[in-house]
Symmetry: C2
Subunit: 769 residues, 2 copies
């Protein structure tokens, strides 16, 4: 895999440290130093203004605008508008002037620069010394946090220490709705209302197309006797003030920001304003120390529950903690409207859209760390079921067609014209429901929301699939599977397999309900108009689903005709050709047996326990050398299977890309935002890979191995109401329930009951690396 | 085929007649009554202004503007801008005011309406009586023509006869650059220069993006003592004047218009102006009678050469003459920059783009009627070879990749994202060269331009094709063949077959040159950098080209996997579902064994003499019932093969759609413009179909049949410098050379020498319908 680390940050177990300023990495740093609390997110841009490269990104989860999709022709099923995560107010806006000079790290004389994000507190601090042209030297510390306990609260702390003078410095703090959305080249805001308040301002922003509203306000905590002057510009309100600094003494200014979005379109603007003011009143009584203490406590709880500790590998240690930190920042289950965009809340690329990544790559992390967040993700799909039903109609299908890219449940993929060929989201949702219910035993969810989605997804697949005249089998024609290097194929093996599983799980669920809760079954049947003949139809289609496979070798054919595609030795592709999407003609990508990301190997991973070791090995040996990993989601899945197959060197090598994908900017596009869904894959890479966890069967299983470079590692998971601590060393693996009732799990093919006393199992020879 | 005639025009052997005004057909009439002379074209819109539906379309062949293609993502090979035929000046602009009222056929009281296009003269005349609100009745005749002998000349004649009064009428004649391009919703003109002239005005128009220039001027021929007043508006210049009418007397005004485009971008605006003025000076000395006499003579020559006369079938008689008339209007070989857009010069749909239709469907008409025009079409491809070489590079290919849609040689298909999968244009160009050289024996063209294109096309195919690992054969992966209901397939049989033929013809040409003209071979080899190993490579690839075929039945498989596509009985598709592109989800079109237009049958038609009767029948019987004819080009090819196979009823039925496609508006979209390339297919339908002509072998062959409803038919063709007249009756078919030396041709499998004395051959029993 032609991926090379581009490391400029310090390696540290708990902190992300930029020592000395790297302007050439400014966008990358903005992504890495992004803060969020699931509700609001902000890139690590320089709030004081910066004339170098930057993306002033401030976002609210699930808060979108709309733009038309320009296309010369519009065929039925092509989308005409796309909804995207809109950039919002720059609530950190700041100006610092000293001796007539305005601070700008691209132009000012600055030394002793250091930027630190502490994963234990969520506090981001930037410190440096600024020497003005008149020789005055000022130490500046800029801190920020977004509160995990007050979702609408962001905090900025400015500390100034004159090193060789006493005298004034001028500041201005503001709320700026004027930043332009980078990709669209447009600003989407108007500001219909604003108000001066006690040492602060309040502004109501409204988006220009959909009229969606966002209230923002701040209150300054100033040294005594400092007075402020209002500053108004179009889409901007701020307060200017001067501080009288004294040599060697630190002056502190706090800016407590309230950020309150009306997530549903329309409604009463006054109600938004009043609600925002009320929240701001609560915030105005908080102090930095209180907020910071709560923040520390919150993050301590996260690490208590979810830390992965690795001995002997500082790089991967830092990498995986960064992943876990960002995953909690992106989603924690408090906000029911939230989902996970491909870049989380850290950039505009992929438009804030949610893909099948949510259920396929992200759900396991939340399932085993924060079941409420996991349920919240599935509820998003239930809430957007009406849009999926509508979409199915547009595509001449029955039931529910879940979109490949969405922020609000409507299809928003304007990237290419074949979004309607990507059918796998429905099966991912069904898999997510099954996985969630299996681990949480939340039958309430299954019997109310889950089963409704299952019926509509099965119905969609039954209507979209067709019978093969040659083999008499069922399957899907004209699809793009997970491997996006095959634009339009017939009988994609992944999709056929997952659709079969969807039919089977739907039927099994209905059968269970028949005996367990016939009333609820009758209810959902009435709500969905379920007909008995549909069940027979799904059963027949599941039973006769086509899974192209070479019987002798056991290798599944990715789709009909894949084995006749010309072979390409991907090791011979010059490294300068990557990423291939930029350097190869569009159609050339599609003409080889080269694959972009796991496809056959993906369903072998998802239903891992249903395949024999021989079949797994045959398929891995065939497909792995053909995989280009153009998707950042790809290496982890391969690493997990490699460990299972005993390819330990390769497994460890691939894991590196997962845990440090963004910290080392392997894909050279971290500047656009973090690969948020890949961060979740990195967690799987360790827990499912080296930890050997398998959660697709009836019993939770572990087959831990210790990668050779490591001394030991530990992780914890939530499972059916208990917390299991797992520690893996050179000789033994230890399992202990640290919270909750005893659980039964499998370890190296033996079944154990684990309780608070814990159990130590020797790592068998077969699993020694 | 769910196509129903929508006939509102009179049937007449030589004229297109609209008796009484049909406002609901206004757009259709504009297309049908379009005039052109290859250089300029104008729709039959109402020049006096009309508040009903209309498209003020005035076009210059090959004169284009540019617009960006908006796409969310841009992959390599996607086009970023598209060039399209821009709408130009409304040179017929006219206003007529009587008693304070302005004539508008949507609002005025009008009777005795008649519109007639005379195919023998090219004159379009519209007559009606207008009754103003004050009771004054005025007979109005509006005539127009575009001169076939003066390419830059358009003529408008206005004749006014007061029926019940004497008194004034006010008129204004102008040049209007303000009309908006309908599809783009934008006007593309500025007018940097204008000038009043003797009873006329001159204006220089300039397009806003590419700065291309068009000079327009008019001179009025007015009754004595009439004076004019200039009228100026943005993008408009005109002259107002009043006529004093006398009861029962006809007053005549002529407007002679000069229309002169600078076809190459850039250059000196003054030079365009001066050239335009010079042409206008020449035109100013012409009279209507002179111009009309020349026009009559020109069209008489056309009908002398190219008429198809049918006895006993007035509908098809009118239909085929309309086709021939429009084909001459579209192209006649005088203007070297001209090609044939899908709608000719009659509308904006398809952007004036040329497709593979030119060589595949249109070339035969010109080849056998106007060889200079045929050569001009092929020279267009040679002139645009540099763009095709450039396009190949963008698509990671060698040689020349001819675009699927173009006006200037650059790829301009912004309709969908898979234009780069449509490889068949190169093979169509190669086929066109072969066909042209075979019929014209123009080796000069072949050895200079033709061979250069052949080398670059072969080179492109050699680089784009790949070897099948399964069969070891060569072919094309990831393509869309002629059947656009299959988006992306492997080993499209048509493309593979045509590429093989391209390789073979290129190699044969080079071999002939080796002995016939080694110097010229050396010259082209040097110009193209031809390497000897390339020849071996093409030979190997031609020899091992994959042609998927069921050996037992002889049916070719349209592409790998076609026989496994689910079957659809197309007769069961409700008529309301058509056109399918509008009513079916985009992807649904691609999931059946339903085909849009001939694909396998197309190469069986093009290389007709290479296939056995049994193979032709097997393939026709298989593919015809699966063909939806969504392309207007489709019925003719099927009709030709149906006649050959003895399916005479079907052949005749299909021909109807070809000859009267636009007159009867079968596809319900004639309002957008004529199906110009299908008009050429209609000519083939009769000459190749009923006439049984075959031109793909060494000898020109005829196997005429007389369709049962016909009494007789006659047509003429040019062939190797001679004109052959063919007359087919109930018993005999007669062949006579009416001009030029004797020719040897095949008739019903016998070879004959035909001379001025002619030869009568009895129609054998096998060919009696």
């Amino acid at each position: 895999m032609p991926k090379v680390a581009n490391r400029y940050l310090e390696v540290d177990p708990w902190r992300i440290i930029e020592k000395s300023f790297h302007p050439e990495q400014s966008l990358v740093s903005e992504s890495i130093f992004a803060l969020a609390n699931e509700y609001l997110g902000v890139r690590g841009y320089f709030e004081e203004g910066y004339s170098g490269q930057r993306l002033v990104g401030s976002y609210c989860n699930g808060f979108y605008e709309e733009a038309p999709v320009a296309q010369a022709a519009s065929y039925k099923g092509f989308i005409h508008k796309t909804r995207f995560m809109v950039n919002t107010v720059d609530w950190l806006w700041l100006k610092i002037r000293l001796a007539g000079e305005t601070l700008d790290l691209a132009r000012s004389a600055v030394s002793d620069f250091q930027r630190v994000l502490d994963l234990r507190t969520g506090l981001l601090e930037r410190e440096f010394i600024w020497r003005a042209r008149n020789g005055q030297a000022l130490r500046i510390s800029l801190q920020r946090l977004v509160s995990m306990t007050h979702p609408h609260l962001g905090w900025q702390r400015i500390r100034l220490t004159p090193l060789n003078f006493s005298g004034p410095v001028e500041l201005e703090a503001g709320l700026d709705f004027a930043p332009v959305h980078e990709e669209k080249g447009e600003n989407f805001w108007s500001c219909p209302r604003r108000e001066l308040r006690d040492d602060g301002v309040a502004v109501l922003g409204q988006t220009i197309h959909l009229g969606r509203r966002l209230f923002a306000a701040f209150k300054l905590h100033l040294p005594p006797a400092v007075t402020t002057q209002p500053v108004e510009r179009e889409k901007y309100s701020g307060l200017g003030f001067a501080l009288q600094l004294r040599l060697g003494e630190t002056s502190t200014v706090d800016k407590a920001v309230t950020y309150f979005a009306a997530k549903e379109p329309g409604g009463d603007p006054d109600a938004v304003w009043r609600a925002g003011i009320a929240v701001a009143e609560v915030h105005s009584r908080l102090t930095f120390d209180e907020v910071f203490a709560q923040q520390q406590a919150y993050w301590a709880g996260v690490w208590e529950r979810s830390d992965i500790a690795i001995e002997g590998d500082p790089q991967n240690q830092q990498g995986i903690r960064f992943c876990i930190f960002q995953l909690y920042q992106t989603l924690r289950g408090a906000d029911p409207g939230a989902n996970i965009g491909a870049k989380g809340l850290t950039g505009e690329a992929y438009n804030g859209h949610t893909f099948w990544d949510t259920e396929t790559y992200c759900l396991p992390f939340y399932l085993f760390n924060n079941p409420a967040a996991a349920r919240s993700l599935l509820e998003f799909r239930h809430r957007t079921l009406p849009q999926a039903l509508e979409r199915a109609k547009e595509l001449d299908c029955d039931g529910a067609f879940y979109p490949i890219a969405t922020i609000d449940g409507t299809e928003s993929c304007g990237l290419w014209q074949h979004a309607s060929l990507q059918l796998q989201v429905g099966s991912a949702v069904a898999y997510g429901i099954r996985h969630y219910v299996k681990i949480s035993e939340d039958r309430e969810f299954l019997y109310r929301q889950g089963v409704e989605m299952l019926i509509q997804i099965s119905r969609c697949y039954a209507s979209r699939g067709q019978w093969s005249p040659r083999s008499g089998e069922f399957g899907f024609y004209g699809v793009m599977g997970p491997d996006e290097f095959q634009l339009m194929v017939n009988h994609n093996c992944y999709l056929n397999f997952m659709a079969r599983k969807t039919f089977e799980y739907t039927l099994a669920t209905l059968q269970t309900m028949q005996s367990a809760c016939p009333d609820r079954l009758a209810d959902v049947a009435a709500r969905t108009g379920l007909r008995p003949e549909e069940l027979a139809d799904w059963e027949a289609k599941a039973a006769r689903m086509r899974l192209p496979q070479d019987r002798e070798s056991g290798i599944y054919e990715e789709h009909d005709g894949f084995f006749d595609l010309p072979h390409l030795d991907i090791r011979e592709i010059p490294v300068t050709d990557f990423p291939l999407y930029h350097h190869w003609s569009y159609d050339r990508l599609y003409r080889y047996d080269m694959i972009k990301q796991p496809d056959v190997l993906m369903f072998i991973f998802l239903y891992n326990q249903e395949f024999s070791p021989a079949v797994k090995r045959a398929n891995y040996d065939y497909y792995e050398p053909r995989c280009i990993h153009e998707s950042s989601l790809s290496p982890s899945i391969h690493s997990i299977l490699a460990t299972e197959l005993g390819y330990h060197g390769q497994a460890f090598e691939l894991c590196r890309f997962a845990t440090r994908l963004d910290l080392d900017n392997y894909n050279r596009n971290t500047g656009q935002g973090l690969h948020t869904t890949s961060l979740a894959a990195a967690w799987m890479n360790i827990v499912y890979g080296f930890g050997g966890m398998r959660s697709d069967g009836e019993r939770l299983l572990f087959r831990p191995v210790l990668p050779r470079p490591w001394q030991a590692y530990r992780f914890r998971i939530r499972y059916r109401g208990s917390t299991i601590a797992v520690a893996v060393g050179k000789e033994n693996a230890e399992f202990q329930v640290v919270d909750g009732p005893p659980v039964r799990i499998g370890i190296y093919d033996e079944e154990y009951s684990i309780d608070a006393a814990g159990r130590t199992v020797a790592i068998p020879e077969t699993h020694r690396v």
